[in-house]
Symmetry: C2
Subunit: 481 residues, 2 copies
């Protein structure tokens, strides 16, 4: 284990995070808000730490081994969460460090759970910083999913190995140019979203903030009422489209813009994702139309917005859907786990693993009927070998175990049944709102005990880094190898 290279890379990340803090500093300076000085101070601290680490650990070659990559990834996300919390801690919000760390972690992991209320009174710099954390977390996770996960072979992600490296379908020749093209695509989509939001009624500041938290499927808003503040059906549909774009495998955009190939409908994840969105929205719209005072048009918008918001793990709301009745609550609860496509900014279990599980079930039923036949599971037309399938099931098993332990631990800290169950789910899946009066869409995480907040932060990081990336660090073999 070469800690030097890990320290060097962390230093670069910290320095970048510090430089980014100059943006909210300028914003608060423009409105003469006292938070400006604090952002500047925090920026200096971050850059100072970052540069110190760069100088102390500087090295020439950056090639990482797989074992080093696991540690670096976990420490990078943790480091961003800690240093992202500094300006929130120092700001005029009067947050405890626990609350600041929770808000920062919820940002970086694009979860969107918040401990803040009275957002409309918070300084623009702080609001922008929250949105920026999600935006940076979003591009970070895309790069991680496309460049590192396939090689780390975490949770079946080796299925996507070819997409970024195979010669027969080569997107880019080198990792760094893929990162660049991803950033261009990500930035372009965000810019387009900002323009549309602004065109249809948001202020410039609102537009840029919501665009960043829409495309990153994070879900932070500049208003306590979240998207409900705008009360605009057209803004909601723009948001629906861009949440979906943020939840699609980004490699498809790179193929489209850099190779001119429209490969969306060749992609199994994308097709299943679209199908699920259609079926779920149709079903819930009908139910809502029958069981509420909404018109059919309102029902469709309400259903589509919240289904997309939960399945993409964004977490925007326009109304407290838990008041619709027990059925939507239960439906959204299970939807929390699902998640959208691997290789996007969304969290949850992800469509790819659901597809493989569904195929395994179908295969098992067929195997009962034709006992002597041999069945092959295919993804994108290619046979999946057993180690890939096993790694998907290992992932799912660990996901369930992590969920059970997290839920029981939250209960041990005094949370009630519904809050514990849905809190663990929403943290692990990086969605945002839970179920119930405490952490539901109308609630807020502020009242939870500090230890519960730390546990939820751990859950968010676990979910964000696909559980195994972190859990591997807890195994004896990792350190004795």
């Amino acid at each position: 284990m070469r800690f030097q290279i890990i320290g060097f890379t962390l230093g670069i990340l910290l320095a970048i995070l510090g430089v980014l803090q100059l943006i909210p500093a300028l914003v608060d300076r423009a409105s003469d808000h006292e938070n400006a000085r604090m952002f500047l101070f925090s920026a200096v601290v971050c850059v100072f730490f970052g540069m110190g680490m760069i100088l102390a650990f500087r090295c020439e070659r950056l090639h990482l081994s797989m074992r080093e990559t696991f540690l670096l990834t976990t420490l990078s996300w943790l480091g961003l969460c800690v240093f992202g919390a500094v300006p929130l801690y120092l700001s005029d919000l009067g947050l405890s460090f626990t609350d600041a760390f929770f808000e920062s972690t919820s940002g970086i992991t694009t979860t969107g759970s918040t401990v803040l209320s009275g957002l409309d009174q918070v300084s623009h710099g702080v609001l922008l910083w929250r949105s920026m954390l999600q935006w940076v977390g979003g591009i970070g996770i895309i790069a991680f999913a496309i460049l590192l996960l396939p090689f780390l072979r975490v949770g079946g992600m080796q299925l996507f190995k070819t997409e970024a490296s195979d010669r027969s379908d080569k997107v880019m020749s080198r990792g760094s140019s893929i990162v660049f093209s991803l950033m261009v695509v990500y930035g372009g989509i965000t810019a387009l979203c900002t323009i549309l939001y602004h065109m249809f009624g948001m202020s410039g500041f609102e537009a840029i903030n919501h665009a960043m938290t829409t495309v990153s499927t994070g879900g932070y808003s500049t208003h306590d009422a979240s998207f409900g503040y705008f009360n605009s059906r057209i803004l909601e549909w723009i948001s629906i489209v861009f949440m979906v774009l943020g939840a699609v495998p980004f490699i498809l955009f790179v193929k489209l813009f850099y190779k001119g190939r429209f490969a969306f409908f060749e992609d199994e994840q994308f097709k299943v994702f679209m199908l699920l969105l259609l079926v779920f929205t149709a079903g819930l719209s009908l139910w809502l139309w029958q069981n509420s005072a909404y018109s059919i048009g309102q029902s469709v918008t309400m259903s589509a917005f919240h289904i997309v918001s939960i399945i993409t793990t964004t977490g925007f709301t326009t109304t407290d859907y838990t008041l619709w009745g027990a059925l939507p609550v239960m439906f959204f609860f299970f939807l929390t786990y699902l998640g959208a496509c691997a290789g996007s900014t969304s969290g949850g279990v992800k469509i790819i693993r659901v597809v493989v599980t569904a195929k395994a079930i179908a295969r098992q039923i067929k195997a009962l009927i034709y006992p002597r036949a041999v069945f092959v599971l295919r993804y994108q037309g290619k046979a999946m070998d057993y180690p890939v399938i096993m790694s998907i099931f290992g992932f799912l098993g660990l996901y369930v175990v992590a969920n059970v332990f997290l839920t029981i631990a939250l209960t041990l800290l005094g949370l009630d049944f519904t809050t514990a169950v849905s809190g663990a789910a929403t943290a692990l899946a990086n969605v945002g709102p839970g179920v119930g009066s405490v952490i539901g869409p109308a609630g807020n995480f502020a009242s939870l005990p500090d230890l519960a907040k730390w546990l939820l932060c751990f859950g968010m990081l676990l979910g964000r880094l696909e559980v195994l990336t972190i859990m591997v660090l807890f195994s004896r073999q990792y350190w004795t190898n």
Copy 2:
């Protein structure tokens, strides 16, 4: 598909069920209760139907194909549930057929959820019939698990193929003699339990009823207060021992009594089962001791009794443990799914599949650290081949899907979050009590809507027959083959 052979076998089962009803008829006759005539009438109906089917479909050879076995198994359990409900429907309880069918299904599947209250006033014949349904359901499921499931290769049960057939470790030469020895063991254990219950305070009638529902891990009681009625620590410990015996792979008893081989501690399921019981009981005892007015002794008894009752899927209670606080509720909720050993009378996911999942997780973590190594999953020291592992994961996936659909469907019928979630869990796992004020340990299933009761019956049968046995009948390939 030879429906003749299926009808013939069903006829035999019905006739036996009819003959068995003569026992409660005699019991109620002895106390001059009006239900005696009704039991006699129901017995005649069952025997009449049964004999009719035997005569109509009589055939010489009983060798079944695998496809026929799936249908026969499902129809057998369904038939027993329907005809087991007849005397309950006709009795002086004034039950609707839905309630009678629910009670009968909950009996045959050894679930133990009840719609009855005021059990202390119910005629002895009816109480005995409920216990007999569970006892018959218990031996039925053991025979099914040991003789049929390994050959049907449902949910990884092919792992146990060798135990009943392999020459190197042959227990019995032929299926029918295994069934006979299983019945002797099962009857013997029940008799011993009856004697001990009677010796330590139960009346003869209470003893035989509770022995039948203990060893079958069913959980019906002759009192509304369930085991709490007796308020006897020694009876509780006797019950703990016999619930555990009912939840152990029965092939181990056959080995012990027919081959004189004590193989319990060579069995991986048994060892993990014991370990879990110890760890869980120790943990909950400590917690309870710290967080309640119970003494350490009371805490241990309370913890052991309820953990064993839930993990063996019996469902006896001595107190409303949901009043202990949120932690035990959550803990018992997750425990509901676990279940004890495959090849016993217990339900749930079962230890064997939990063990394989845990090994798959450990293997996946190791595979991340040693990317080029090949890892083999072993059970009982033997390598498991991939089709076995796949069939376990296919089972688990289907179990989750069935659980989600059942929960959402229950919510659609108006059940609240907690009742729907725990109702689906307790039905699928064949445990008995749920969580919450409606169907919790102090509650009762009577107030649920009729459709919810039918859904729960479907869930109980699904869980009892390892999900796949029934779901295979819903596939197109099964019928077009």
